[in-house]
């Protein structure tokens, strides 16, 4: 922030880097560039079933992005609270893909390792991906176990009666099993990684028209 005050109108280097990464992610969302059309009407915030517990509302996310405060967005709980119900996307009068853009922000956050304090929801995402990469399918018990053990081990005790009730009804699969084609999953991961590597080395072209009010009208 101090740096910003020193040179008016110039983003600090860290913010410029976040912007570059976010734009690269948003660019990969078909229609992601429509973020520049935002009217700040607030329909997204009004439609969101969980905006009332967000520290930054969906409308403010776009305002902060425009104002050059991406780090503030990434440090908020907002992007990790979104439950992906797509109501904002459905109702946006400018057809902005808000949910998908929040996904792009989550990827930027994981990439830059910037998270909100005491709200490590990204563990769930990371563990989910680890399980799927390893077995080819998700395993509910393993996912919950990994998450709760780190976040809230006592919470497991509260879950126990419900887990037992489901178990008695035959609705718990105790052990994960690998799919036959787990090798193809590995191959997919390997070639995806090989493909993604150059992205970080090459500077992403600045996408004119995606930023701020310049693109409106």
């Amino acid at each position: 922030m101090r740096e910003r005050e020193q040179i008016p109108g110039v983003l600090p280097a860290s913010e410029q880097e976040l912007r570059r990464r976010f734009l690269a992610e948003a660019h990969l969302v078909p229609g992601g560039d429509r973020i520049s059309r935002c009217l700040q009407c607030g329909t997204c915030t009004g439609s969101c079933p969980v905006s009332y517990v967000m520290d930054i509302s969906p409308r403010m996310v776009i305002a902060l992005y425009r104002a050059g405060h991406i780090e503030e967005i990434l440090r908020s709980r907002t992007i990790w609270i979104c439950a992906s119900c797509y109501m904002c996307t459905t109702r946006c009068p400018q057809a902005i893909k808000i949910t998908d853009l929040l996904y792009a922000l989550k990827r930027t956050a994981l990439d830059a390792k910037l998270y909100p304090d005491r709200f490590p929801v990204y563990w769930l995402s990371k563990n989910f991906v680890r399980i799927v990469n390893r077995f080819g399918r998700n395993h509910e018990i393993l996912l919950l176990l990994l998450y709760y053990l780190r976040r809230n081990p006592l919470g497991l005790l509260r879950l126990f009666p419900m887990g037992m009730a489901l178990f008695r009804k035959g609705r718990v699969k105790l052990f994960p099993s690998k799919i036959k084609g787990v090798k193809t999953i590995r191959e997919i991961l390997r070639s995806a990684e090989a493909l993604e590597l150059p992205r970080d080395k090459q500077p992403v072209a600045y996408v004119e028209g995606m930023v701020g009010y310049r693109a409106v009208g």
């Binding site: 078909p30 799927v132 419900m162 489901l166 009804k169 084609g181 493909l195």
Partner: protein, 290 residues
């Protein structure tokens, strides 16, 4: 008619009754349902938040496998799978850049996807392919006297307009009204249940679930019909905690729509996995005709 079936991870465990009842209903209607061999996780709402291209490629593996099975629609009963598979199709169609990348990645695993697979939800297939009349004729019993709240959840109708309205769908209401049941006034029919927030932010999610239960109960619904494994588990398994937190005493059965449809078609309770529900469906239904 023949369909390919993509059960998804939940239907292997917590949503087993959904899998059982869906298969039972299709059997009764004489439709062939072939499980996609060696399918993998669709990535749900989560994988996309870690890496987009890999997420699309992992999902596209299923679509590539489905394509090898000829020209059959792929049925995905879980809302998350349905929406993610549809989204993958759409992203790959809309962005040549992503398509090229995913092609390259799949190629590395010896697979190829030509964007020809149609992803369908079983509710859409049953009502729009098979038709209400055919189902009504196949029904062995009426559902008279039953009032239900039809809860679609968020992801089978959004983000894109699919087979029904995105905010006020009526497909499920029409289906069960045709079979004699009464659809309760339930304006929260596409309101989000919170999904994974039950794990990450339970205080909030329990509130969302309470709103849904309250709305259904106040409008005299005897059960909530759902199309999604996530909604079912949040509304059923966490009902006790909702009651504890809000001082309520809900005992609302949360039933997969295929379970009730199966009852109407004369399937047995075991066949439909009704014994697996934590809160039993206790309403008196007219007996099945022989």
């Amino acid at each position: 008619m023949e369909y390919l079936y993509y059960p998804g991870c939940s239907l292997e465990s917590s949503a087993k009754p959904y899998d059982e009842s869906l298969r039972a209903v299709f059997r009764r209607l004489g439709l062939q349902l072939t499980e996609l061999d060696d399918w993998n996780c669709c990535g749900a709402t989560v994988y996309m938040s870690v890496d987009e291209t890999t997420s699309l490629a992992i999902t596209a593996r299923n679509l590539a496998l489905a394509e090898q099975n000829g020209n059959r629609d792929l049925i995905a009963p879980c809302s998350a799978c349905y929406t993610v598979l549809l989204k993958t199709n759409r992203f790959l169609r809309d962005s040549p850049e992503l398509k090229q990348k995913v092609d390259h990645i799949l190629g590395g695993a010896g697979l190829k996807y030509n964007l020809t697979v149609k992803v369908r939800h079983p509710l859409d297939v049953l009502v729009n392919d098979i038709g209400l009349e055919t189902i009504a004729q196949a029904a062995k019993r009426r559902l008279d006297g039953l009032t239900f709240a039809s809860y679609y959840g968020c992801q089978i109708v959004r983000p894109e307009r699919g087979f029904d309205d995105r905010e006020f769908p009526t497909t499920m209401d029409k289906l069960f009204e045709r079979l004699g049941a009464k659809s309760a006034y339930f304006p929260l029919k596409t309101r989000c249940c919170g999904g994974m927030l039950m794990t990450t932010f339970p205080e909030v999610c329990l509130g969302l679930v309470k709103d849904l239960l309250e709305c259904a109960a106040e409008n005299d619904a005897q059960c909530i019909l759902t199309t999604c494994p996530m909604c079912q588990i949040n509304l059923e398994a966490y009902q006790k905690r909702v009651n504890k937190m809000f001082g309520t005493s809900y005992q609302m059965p949360i039933v997969f729509f295929t379970q009730l449809l199966g009852l109407a078609l004369g399937c047995g309770e075991l066949e439909l996995g009704l014994h697996r529900n934590l809160i039993g469906l206790r309403m008196p239904l007219p007996a099945a005709a022989a």
